[in-house]
């Protein structure tokens, strides 16, 4: 369970404070949570807060679960180092043994289908290749919650399918927090929903209700 206690988060802008959430108290049950919201509503900020790398201005987020790093934007890699070296670094970071590290390297090599590029500096990668590496790497670690920011849209159609299958298999044993603009994906992967809208955070027991509400909001705002 993730508990938010009087969480307030805002950004300072020229026109005063822009609130993403204002004094929100919520209990999120253990489930696959889909995050909904328009561009710039604060979805990514919310994920980063749940992942513990961004902090509320006041209030607390409490959980005894482990969270992955937010996956998606290919951050956390060093351009000058090879893909393999980067994978090794993350393994070291998590205190993996040599044997485990070798297994993880092999797994990521197979999954990401980078071939020779695996031993080349990351700066030579295309963004799709980076995404593949990042996605493969995160699958190799075990968390209670995987935090995913639109990564399913990485790579070509065939890899997308493969990634989706792999993720489905992965979330049999863990939960996922997913940001996506594809309602189909959200419905497929998640049971519950969380919507960020105008400084409010609304939790939906059923993702379908969330999606309906979200479509409604989009319609009215579009006009």
């Amino acid at each position: 369970m993730i508990r938010l206690e009087n969480v307030t988060k805002y950004f300072e802008t020229k026109n005063g404070k822009k609130y993403i959430m204002k004094d929100v108290t919520l209990d999120l049950p253990n489930s696959n949570i889909g995050i909904l919201g328009r561009n710039g509503a604060g979805k990514s900020t919310l994920m980063r807060m749940l992942g513990g790398i961004e902090f509320p201005n006041s209030g607390k987020i409490i959980s005894d679960k482990t969270f992955s790093w937010p996956l998606g934007l290919g951050g956390g890699f060093v351009g000058n180092m090879s893909g393999k070296a980067n994978v090794k670094f993350v393994c070291n970071l998590f205190g993996k043994s040599k044997q485990e590290t070798n297994q993880i390297i092999e797994f990521v090599y197979d999954f990401s289908e980078l071939g020779n590029y695996f031993d080349m500096p990351i700066k030579a990668y295309s963004s799709g290749m980076r995404g593949r590496l990042g996605f493969g790497l995160s699958l190799a670690f075990d968390f209670d919650y995987m935090i995913i920011d639109e990564t399913l849209s990485v790579g070509d159609a065939r890899f997308k399918k493969k990634a989706k299958e792999a993720l489905k298999k992965k979330i049999e044993n863990c939960n996922v927090i997913l940001v996506s603009h594809e309602m189909k994906t959200l419905q497929e992967m998640c049971q519950t929903g969380l919507m960020v809208n105008d400084g409010n955070l609304t939790f939906y027991e059923d993702i379908k209700d969330g999606i309906d509400e979200y479509t409604q909001i989009n319609k009215t705002k579009g006009k």
Binding site: R48, G51, G52, I53, E54, F55, F67, W69, P70, G75, G76, F77, V78, N80, M81, A85, F89, V90, N92, L93, F94, G95, P121
Partner: protein, 289 residues
């Protein structure tokens, strides 16, 4: 309801022991995380030195040689123009330079790499266990590691070519001086690192300052060679004390009579506290910069 392990027949004692065990376990695991993060970052910094072209690594080892060569050459030129022998002093100047420059370079490099530590490793803060200060500490350890290698190279060269006084007069105290200097660099580096995370110009200012400090820090001359009035002014610079300490304990003919240990203790502890206080206040902002 939390399950409490049964250690004794007394329930209150059990609760206390249980609490104690929990604290110990938690502490141990956070220490373990810290150590594996530091190890990973250290190896990564090391690998980056090796992988970013050979020039970076070449300069790391060649720079001190060049510095020593230049300053010994200047020394010889001055001695010749005065018509005296280059060895007018009783000690070997190359050894004097090597000991001073290695220590000073350690400070200088630590400071400049601390300045960039938070900015350059921004991308790594997506991993929750990486705290900004870990990146700074690992860079500090890398500089110390490289300094040790450079010292080992100098010592081997000194022994091979039979320079006089290659082996320090007081090995233990030379070691203490280096470690102390490292702690001093940590405090200053932390302040500079935090400052540089919010004001880019701090790093630039520091790189200019450290060049000036080289001239004013008694790196390539013994302080005792200057008139007492100048000595008094230079002794306000804490680095002078560190350099005098290294030189004094290394070279047989020199001593550490000008070093004020209480002065450098203050210069070590106060910046360290200010740095840690600033860092604690701003850590979250640095992570999500």
């Amino acid at each position: 309801m939390v399950q409490i392990k049964k250690y004794t027949h007394n329930i209150f004692l059990d609760i206390i022991l249980d609490k104690f065990e929990r604290i110990l376990l938690e502490k141990r695991s956070s220490l373990k995380i810290f150590l594996s993060v530091i190890r990973a970052l250290f190896l990564r910094e090391l690998e980056m030195r090796f992988s970013t072209g050979k020039s970076g690594l070449f300069w790391t080892f060649f720079e001190p040689f060049l510095q020593i060569f230049i300053f010994v050459a200047i020394r010889v030129a001055i001695a010749n123009s005065h018509g005296t022998s280059a060895n007018a002093t009783n000690f070997d100047f190359a050894v004097f330079m090597a000991s001073g420059f290695t220590a000073f370079n350690m400070f200088r490099h630590t400071l400049s790499s601390s300045a960039g530590a938070f900015i350059a490793n921004q991308g790594l803060f997506v991993y929750k266990q990486v705290k900004p200060i870990d990146t700074l500490i690992s860079r500090l350890l890398l500089e110390f590691f490289l300094t040790t290698i450079i010292l080992a190279i100098f010592l081997s060269i000194g022994l091979l070519f039979e320079y006089e006084n290659t082996i320090p007069q007081n090995i233990l105290m030379v070691f203490v001086s280096y470690i102390w200097l490292l702690f001093f660099s940590f405090g200053i580096g932390l302040i500079v690192g935090v400052g540089n995370a919010f004001f880019m110009s701090v790093g630039k200012f520091i790189s200019i300052l450290s060049f000036g400090l080289m001239i004013l820090s008694a790196v390539f001359f013994p302080l005792s060679s200057l008139p007492p009035a100048v000595q008094d002014i230079l002794l306000y610079n804490p680095l002078v004390h560190f350099m005098e300490m290294v030189h004094g304990y290394w070279i047989d003919e020199l001593d550490t009579s000008l070093v004020s240990y209480s002065y450098i203790t203050a210069w070590t502890i106060i910046p360290m506290f200010i740095g840690i206080w600033l860092y604690n206040k701003l850590e979250k902002r640095i992570i999500s910069l």
